[in-house]
């Protein structure tokens, strides 16, 4: 039985913290890196080789472009497979999005129309990636700022069907749920409730920004601040619904000192411990 959150919470490892992590070995459950930053050689890969001896690693990809109609970049997939064999990560994840069209990589997790056609494309690519990796993939829900005219399948249903067809797990980014639902006037709790709890293998938490476009507030998933109170509340709800899950604190812009990330991780650990205790008392009362 999991008695608390320690060990379940990780942080996103970014370049400014690598030396400190290697030297200080802070008490953090695990570390997640962006796969594409380690597909070359040299000092970056050497540092990761050392870090993996001290901490469980999660490889979080941003470049497979699972939703590209033109097919997966097989050369890129082969490099991801080689890194996965070398690092032996605890988790391997990617996104429900696309980034490559006409051979150009657009460096953004771009939204898909949620149609039967897209579902078939993404499911085929998830299956191809899992076959090459020899292990299941975790697929993350995106943050969105636009929807397509024709997109009849609700996003959580699309993800649930993807998991059912491919056997992939889902990475529930609670901040993305909040950002997308707020941007399209959806209920984030209903979104969480529509996800299959047994498929959730990881949770992400991050900060977002509030921007204004033509007098309308748009939330932007910039990973540039502490997790908002509303997202912490939604995280508590996610834990209640999914049970304790490996949880990551992500921070990518205006990266703060390492103790700030560890402080956020500590907060997630407390939330997991509390949800386990409350889950126990609910079970006793039933």
């Amino acid at each position: 039985m999991i008695s608390g959150g320690a060990g379940l919470v990780g942080i996103g490892l970014r370049a400014p913290h690598v030396a400190e992590i290697l030297a200080a070995r802070p008490p953090v459950g695990w570390l997640e890196v962006h796969t594409e930053n380690y597909l070359g050689g040299g000092p970056a890969l050497r540092a990761l080789d050392r870090i993996r001896r001290e901490h469980p690693i999660s490889l979080h990809g941003v470049g497979l472009s699972l939703g590209s109609a033109e097919g997966l970049d097989r050369g890129h997939l082969a490099r991801v497979v080689a890194l996965t064999r070398r690092i032996e990560p605890a988790l391997v994840s990617e996104h429900l999005s696309w980034s490559i069209a006409g051979g150009a990589y657009l460096n953004h997790l771009l939204p898909l129309p949620y149609t039967e056609e897209s579902l078939a494309v993404v499911a085929a690519h998830v299956a191809e990636a899992q076959e090459a990796l020899g292990r299941p993939l975790l697929v993350e829900n995106p943050s969105s700022y636009l929807r397509f005219q024709h997109s009849p399948i609700p996003e959580p249903e699309f993800l649930a069907e993807l998991a059912r067809r491919t056997g992939c797990s889902l990475l529930c980014d609670v901040n993305n749920v909040f950002v997308s639902c707020r941007n399209f006037d959806h209920d984030p709790v209903a979104y969480l409730d529509a996800l299959p709890a047994s498929s959730i293998g990881e949770i992400h938490l991050a900060g977002h920004a509030e921007n204004e476009a033509d007098g309308r507030v748009i939330l932007i998933d910039d990973h540039g601040s502490r997790v908002s109170d509303e997202v912490w509340a939604l995280y508590a709800r996610a834990l209640e619904r999914f049970g304790p899950r490996p949880t990551l604190i992500e921070w990518d812009t205006d990266i703060p000192a390492l103790p700030v990330l560890l402080d956020e991780a500590g907060r997630a650990e407390v939330a997991i411990t509390r949800s386990v205790a409350e889950g126990g008392s609910r079970a006793l009362a039933a």
Partner: protein, 270 residues
């Protein structure tokens, strides 16, 4: 109803600064103009790719200032977006783009500074390689030695410029509070850029040694490289050049240099 391929193709056009008309018809407004929603994505694409180029070409950015750099990067991103998701590999063509970019005409050395920074970027991320000991060629029969080729460390670039790009680079480091004055008439540079341990280093080579190593890096055999070096300097000595080459740890295998299309380890100004 447009297919997924059509949607992605029109999105690509809109996000790279082309006609966003077709993409606008595919996107719901949800209380905004569809163009405003596409602009959120375009802003992210351009700013993050510009930041990636800025990280790879910090001295170019310092030489032209950040605003002009962002302008040049925006144009470059349109004509040559990344071809793959590893952003540390983005920018191979930036130097050539700058060389042909009319607003940069008053800075004739800029493209070669970009070539130096690109060589440094390549060196930083090149795969690790184990140097070959000199005894590996000591057993080669003398009559076969001339046709011997050597594969050099993949982090190495040999770069020549008619401008003193090494001095320009050093004078524009952020820890140089008062950029030194570099006289363009001081002459050009023949540089060897490579990784040493975790660091990227470069140094100037004398003309014959540069020509010799450059010929080997292109896949030329020892006889051809020696002939080129002797043409540059009749006093060139093959024995000491080979000793220095192996002492520097450059050869990693006997045999031809595998060439990667579009990523030439030997760069010279056009």
């Amino acid at each position: 109803m447009p297919s997924l391929r059509e949607i992605e193709s029109e999105m690509r056009l809109a996000l790279l600064g082309g006609d966003d008309g077709p993409a606008r018809t595919m996107v719901r407004g949800d209380g905004l103009e569809p163009a405003a929603r596409l602009a959120i994505y375009r802003h992210h694409v351009v700013t993050t790719l510009t930041a990636a180029l800025q990280a790879t070409f910090p001295v170019v950015c310092r030489l032209v200032d950040e605003r002009f750099f962002a302008y040049a990067a925006d144009r470059y991103i349109q004509v040559e977006p990344p071809s793959g998701p590893c952003l540390f590999e983005y920018g191979a063509g930036f130097a050539n783009f700058l060389a042909g970019f009319p607003p940069c005409r008053s800075l004739p050395y800029l493209a070669d500074v970009a070539r130096l920074e690109w060589a440094m970027q390549r060196a930083l991320h090149a795969p690790d390689a184990i140097p070959l000991p000199i005894r590996a060629i000591q057993g080669v029969a003398p009559d076969l030695a001339g046709s011997l080729t050597l594969t050099l460390d993949p982090s190495v670039t040999l770069l020549s410029s008619r401008y003193p790009v090494d001095r320009i680079w050093r004078a524009n480091q952020v820890d140089e509070p008062e950029p030194a004055v570099v006289n363009l008439a001081d002459g050009g540079a023949r540089l060897e850029i490579r990784r040493s341990g975790d660091d990227v280093v470069f140094r100037a080579l004398d003309p014959a040694v540069f020509v010799f190593r450059h010929a080997l890096a292109r896949g030329g055999d020892l006889a051809a490289a020696t002939a080129e070096a002797l043409a540059a300097d009749p006093a060139f000595d093959l024995g000491s050049a080979l000793t220095a080459l192996f002492a520097d740890g450059l050869p990693i295998a006997l045999g031809p240099t595998p060439s990667t299309p579009g990523d030439d380890p030997c760069q010279r100004e056009p």
